[in-house]
Symmetry: C3
Subunit: 178 residues, 3 copies
């Protein structure tokens, strides 16, 4: 049997981190992954405020200390002064993956014209793929439905574990030969 | 009554700034806003040449001294050596908004295949949203039609005045609850 | 008669550069250009490994010493540790052209969901347009079909030679008046 995949779920929210507000983004990501993944995985959840140094530290911890192949953030991607998740992500990534943000904005734009205000991005740090998602549970599933088919192969390419999906829900695309 | 919104209209053109050429971009932006906005607003027009330091200084002046919640630039977004508006914009913004450029190129691409040559972007500096537009009047309306529905809510989120639109022309989208 | 256009074809591949693998990307780019261009042009091919300093040096050599108006790279645009072509491109370009990557990913996405993993970009250095393409021959033609209609006009704007296309294959778009 293969070892389980560790997946970081990083909720970025001032109110949720202070306990003034129930975190809904993190559980929505976890529920989504539970539904979609059929290979073994373990969630590594963290909740922090909208502070760039804290977000950077949390991503690094999940990537290195927790050995996460995938780190999904939720929240902090808008235009407001406190929204700094994309900046923190870019600061800790060695490579940026612009295609993730482009596609997520495209699918969100089919729902609401304010999708262009979402600054979410994705990138690679070492053997970890970091993907920013919006904070709203409904938008989380929409965005993950769009990008998830490419995530298992991306994790293969960066040296991570082999993720398998429930194919009636999401078909992970892997090219026949490289 | 609420105070009026100040909107910067920054024409970037060597020829227009030297008076060799009538500025058509700036008036096209002003006409568009007059047609679309029904809340009170005041235009703050500036015409300058394609020099990065001058463009940066003009954006800062409009953002701070003129208290503009929205600064629309026109011109200087192409690939030619003198086209530096996106670089000036990025240099003065704290946050970039990649969804604006993506959507404007997408709608322009339905008209002309050279739309991919437009490097226009958008970003936030303090309480101001800066949006780059192309120089051609026809392309200005096309681009603004695509992104304007998201602009009033963006300005709400960055602490600006409440913009209202003529809803038979553009419906400003604001989510029911945040 | 006008002088010929020099076009750099830069294959970025560890295996091809060591001769362990036949370069297929470079010939695919050359075949494409032969089919599409009807004005005179001369190919300047280079094959190198996936090392950022080598890629940067090769782009500079093609731009300056070889006087290439267009430099097409193939390979090294994925998420793997050795894939650094976009970083090398960005490091040597004065201006980035985000519309190229956006459109190429969009057309590739119609074929495979993993198109979002391609980080390819484009940019300008002096009088040269640099365009990243994926390594796979099939994807090369798909991507060039999407962006080539805009390339001759882009090269006009940056002071390069006048490229003419076989119009039954690709119609180079040039606006009637600037």
């Amino acid at each position: 049997m293969s070892t389980p995949a560790y997946i970081g779920i990083l909720t970025v929210s001032d109110r949720a981190s202070r306990g003034e507000y129930e975190d809904r983004g993190g559980p929505a990501v976890r529920d989504y992954l539970t539904e979609v993944l059929c290979s073994e995985w373990i969630a590594k959840p963290i909740i922090i405020g909208d502070e760039q140094p804290e977000i950077e530290a949390a991503i690094k911890q999940l990537a290195h200390d927790e050995d996460c192949c995938l780190i999904v953030t939720t929240g902090g991607t808008g235009p407001a002064a406190r929204d700094v998740t994309p900046e923190a992500t870019e600061a800790v990534c060695e490579k940026m993956m612009p295609g993730f943000g482009e596609l997520m904005r495209k699918v969100s734009l089919e729902k609401v014209p304010t999708a262009i205000l979402s600054r979410q991005t994705a990138g690679i740090r070492g053997n970890s793929l970091i993907v920013n998602l919006p904070g709203q549970p409904k938008a989380i599933a929409e965005c993950l439905d769009a990008v998830f088919p490419a995530i298992p192969y991306c994790i293969d390419l960066i040296g991570g574990p082999f993720l398998e999906t429930n194919e009636d829900r999401i078909v992970a695309f892997r090219p026949k030969k490289k």
